[in-house]
């Protein structure tokens, strides 16, 4: 497309001037330049800010022992290595950096291994075996991906909480009258298990895709040559799905690094810190400089994994199975284990997918937490009035009303919905524009810059991204007022974090709209705006709508990104869940969690109906 939005021939002046005007007024260029400015604001400035803050003094640094002891005068904005020293080379290093780093690596590697094991085994059974009811199982198994990761952690607490740390006992202790040991109640093991129960969906989806594309004749040929089933698996099947396994590894690993909710719920009670919870605690303790250095470490780890992904498997993301006519996908006969496997899978799904949701729902009906008997049943936490008393005359939930009658919850729900609606709409529009500028400008530096800049937020773990925005918008920058505590800040940060997803979907949608369809319009005199509204937009509409819904759900359930940024006036459902759970009001937290879960599931079902695709679609949200 070479027609500019202006008829430049009509512009007077020298040919050179006209060329300049024309080049700058090509539609993809105009949009591209505006988007580039936006991306600089969204991505580059925060990145500079995070480095700057960690290398300079801020007012709150006055109380740091390293400053007080040496009598250093703190001038805000002046260069200092004090944060570097504190994090990497001081008595604090162990507690603030090394232990959280070790914990993060233990958890991430553990959850990656476990979730890949679960995910790929399930994938093999669903795609390649003759296990019954495979389609149903495939959809069932994708549910954990749709709902947020932390409800499983909350369910774990409900079941395995012990009384050693105070509060009410969990289901286990209630049933068996023995408190479970600490290492089962809290810390790395439950974190790994509960996160794996969410993240296995990544491996499940990618490996299923790879397995489904394998022609079973490839395996049969090996069998004909006398290879045993095990050899076939090891020498043929495994190498063919290797690229998918690798990308599942990278995906899970880089998501795991930044995960916040679960380590916070299951780690903080026993002071088990990961990098993400350490960042949170540093920010809360007004140690922004230290927090940002840890955030940089997280970004580095996550960048390295993504870089390795591009280097190691980028060139062969998937094998193209070369085959002639026809395609055979003969399921492997499990023989007498067919029903055994089916039973195990169903048991797994019921316990680990439905179980947590069941436990959480049940908990919301318990008058006293931890008492699973029927006489303890109450609807108070849903519909009770404020100041209601329980059967023993105690004030329920310190006098707070049930969530459906609680104006604070309604306020947070309204904020959540408002935020999700605004973000998803803006993200979709931004996505289409990015897609247009990237696809139509293909080959230009501008297009490449937009492509890579819009991907950059992917390497920022949510909590780190939130921390960066907190620092950047705490004060006025040029014409932009201080945004801390405003709703706009939540919109901006969520929008920025959605950029990789927006630009991917936008680019994919735009690639579907062949350039000629637009050219046919410009040939009969349709200007850019007309072409966009009448041709491009209608043709990308279905992807656009699905993108909106997916963004809506993701924003609804987002916690780590905004947990540092919400204030009482901008609280959202997820931040309320976090507060309630932190404060021990599990019934309230769980009730709101169920609410978010229901919204997520319904939304995904709508997408699925609209797109006629499987529940398992939508990786990358």
């Amino acid at each position: 497309m070479s027609s500019s939005v202006l008829d430049v021939t009509a512009v007077g002046g020298s040919p050179l001037l006209r060329r300049w005007i024309r080049n700058l007024t090509l539609p993809q260029r105009v949009i591209g330049i505006l988007l580039l400015l936006l991306l600089v604001f969204f991505v580059i400035m925060p990145a500079i800010n995070i480095v700057y803050t960690s290398l300079t003094f801020s007012l709150s640094d006055r109380r740091l022992p390293q400053v007080v002891d040496r009598g250093i005068e703190v001038v805000p904005g002046e260069f200092t290595t004090v944060h570097l020293e504190r994090v990497f080379w001081s008595k604090l290093t162990n507690k603030m950096f090394l232990i959280p780093l070790r914990n993060t690596l233990i958890i991430t590697l553990g959850l990656t291994a476990l979730s890949m094991l679960i995910g790929s085994s399930l994938a093999w059974l669903v795609v390649r075996s003759n296990m019954p009811w495979k389609r149903g199982i495939a959809n069932f198994a994708s549910i954990p991906y749709i709902i947020p990761s932390w409800p499983i952690a909350l369910a774990w607490i409900a079941v395995f909480k012990n009384t050693k740390l105070g509060g009410h006992p969990g289901w286990f202790q209630y049933m068996f009258h023995v408190p479970p040991p600490d290492w089962i109640s809290y810390g790395p093991l439950p974190i790994i298990i509960t996160l794996s129960l969410h993240y296995y969906a990544f491996s499940f989806i990618t490996v299923s895709g790879a397995l489904a594309s394998i022609d079973s004749r490839l395996e049969e040929t090996a069998e004909l040559m006398g290879a045993s089933k095990f050899t076939v698996m090891r020498k043929i099947t495994l190498p063919l799905v290797m690229p998918a396994l690798m990308s599942a590894f990278i995906l899970t690993f880089s998501k795991g690094i930044g995960t916040f909710g679960t380590p916070a719920f299951l780690g903080l009670p026993v002071r088990f810190f990961t990098l993400s919870t350490q960042v949170y605690s540093n920010v809360k303790n007004n140690l922004a400089g230290d927090a940002y250095l840890l955030a940089i470490v997280m970004i580095l780890i996550s960048s390295i994994t993504i870089y390795m992904n591009a280097k190691v498997i980028g060139a062969r993301k998937s094998f193209v199975t070369i085959s002639g006519k026809g395609f055979r996908a003969k399921p492997v006969d499990l023989g007498k284990f067919k029903w055994v496997m089916f039973g195990l899978v169903i048991l797994f799904l019921v316990i680990f997918v439905l179980g947590p949701l069941y436990i959480l729902s049940w908990q919301t009906f318990m008058e006293v937490d931890g008492d699973y008997s029927l006489r303890n049943f109450t609807l108070h936490y849903w519909i009770g009035p404020s100041g209601a008393t329980g059967s023993l005359g105690q004030l329920l939930g310190e006098g707070q009303a049930g969530i459906l009658r609680n104006s604070e919850v309604w306020f947070a729900a309204w904020n959540s919905i408002r935020l999700a609606l605004t973000v998803s709409t803006l993200a979709a529009i931004l996505g289409v524009l990015l897609g247009y500028a990237i696809v139509r400008g293909r080959g230009t530096g501008l297009s490449k810059a937009l492509d890579s800049l819009s991907f950059a937020p992917y390497v920022f773990p949510g909590i780190a991204f939130g921390a960066v925005y907190l620092g950047m918008f705490a004060k006025r920058i040029g014409p932009i007022p201080a945004l801390y505590g405003t709703f706009s800040l939540l919109v901006i940060v969520s929008l920025a974090k959605r950029l990789p997803f927006s630009s991917r979907t936008g680019t994919a949608a735009m690639l579907q709209v062949h350039k000629e369809l637009e050219e046919a319009g410009s040939l009969v005199g349709a200007g850019f705006f007309k072409r966009f509204m009448k041709i491009i937009f209608p043709l990308t509409k279905s992807g656009f709508m699905a993108g909106i819904l997916l963004s809506f759900i993701t924003t609804m359930r987002e916690l780590s990104l905004i947990v540092l940024l919400v204030t009482p006036s901008t609280k959202v459902l997820t931040s309320m869940i976090f507060r309630y759970t932190e404060g021990g009001y599990h019934q309230y937290g769980d009730a709101i969690t169920m609410f978010v879960v229901i919204i997520s599931l319904t939304g995904t079902l709508i997408i699925r109906k609209a797109q006629k695709t499987d529940l398992s679609k939508g990786i990358g949200g």
Partner: protein
Amino acid sequence: MDKNKVKIKLDKLRKEFGDVVAVKDIDLEIYEGDFLTLLGPSGCGKTTTLLAISGLEEASGGKIFIDGKLVFSKKDEIIVAPSKRNLGLIFQSYALWPHMTVSENISFGLKVKKLPSEEVTQRVNDILKDVQLDEYGERYPSELSGGQQQRVAIARMLVNRPQIFLMDEPLSNLDAQLRMEMRSELKQLHTKTKATTIYVTHDQEEAMTLSTRICVMNEGDIRQIGTPEEIYEKPADVFVAGFISNPKMNFFNGRVSKVNKKTFIDAGGFSIEVPEDVVGTREEVRLAVRPEDFDISGTGISYTVQTRLPTGSSQILMAENQSGDNLTLFFSTEISAKAGDVIKLSIKPGKIHIFDNETSLRLN
């Protein structure tokens, strides 16, 4: 076609994609009422030239005039918008908007021009009748057959009443039978409208049957411009001779010999007398003979039939002589021959094409 009236003129038109020169400073004049085909193998620059004329692709150098008016000049940075060049284009993919009905597709351009709605309806209905799609106005393109989609694309172009028709391989997506039908429809369309047409194809048969003139391109250069007959009978160089031939042209290395002041070219066992001035002082030339330009007679050079490929009404023979020269021959089935037969061949008088070995250009 009116040779006195140049409708479109390309002056040293050039297009580069990075380091690749797709169109190399070509000059071309297209006359009013011309049906000019840009013919050549893929990657020869024909579509690029077409798109440069339309204005959808910006050339890297040179000038384009339409009706004597400068519409493109790189040097002066004059680029008239595609919609102001008074032309219509049929894309190879048709580029029908899938989200619009047939009527909406056709009326789009008229609505952009803000024509009164009665006139839009009238013109759309008229054109639908013309292309025999009056029943299909409310259908979506995906609900039509390939040939019907093709007609919608034609209607969408015609309804805007352009003076110039541009067509980019419009028949390549159709099956063989439909292609024949649409070919004759396109020819009728041109006869009826007399609109100047530029047609891009790699199919020589399509070019021969449709065009008033053919412009053969290769590697960004124009190799020959002429009527279909001129191109067929007097290919300007070795490339054109080889490209415009079906079955494939027979090429020989010819040795020039002089006997009794007469000049002969010896090739493939044949010895052909040629006027002396044709070959000049050359000792070797390149010789080409079409498969249908051989006679089987009692006398002549002996060739052994290797393979016989009957096509129904005619037959293609592959033959070889003792020195290992290979020939492709094309005869009607009246001549009986089978693999293993020895046939006596001679070249029909005046049916040889002689080219310079160095320049590849035609000598006779």
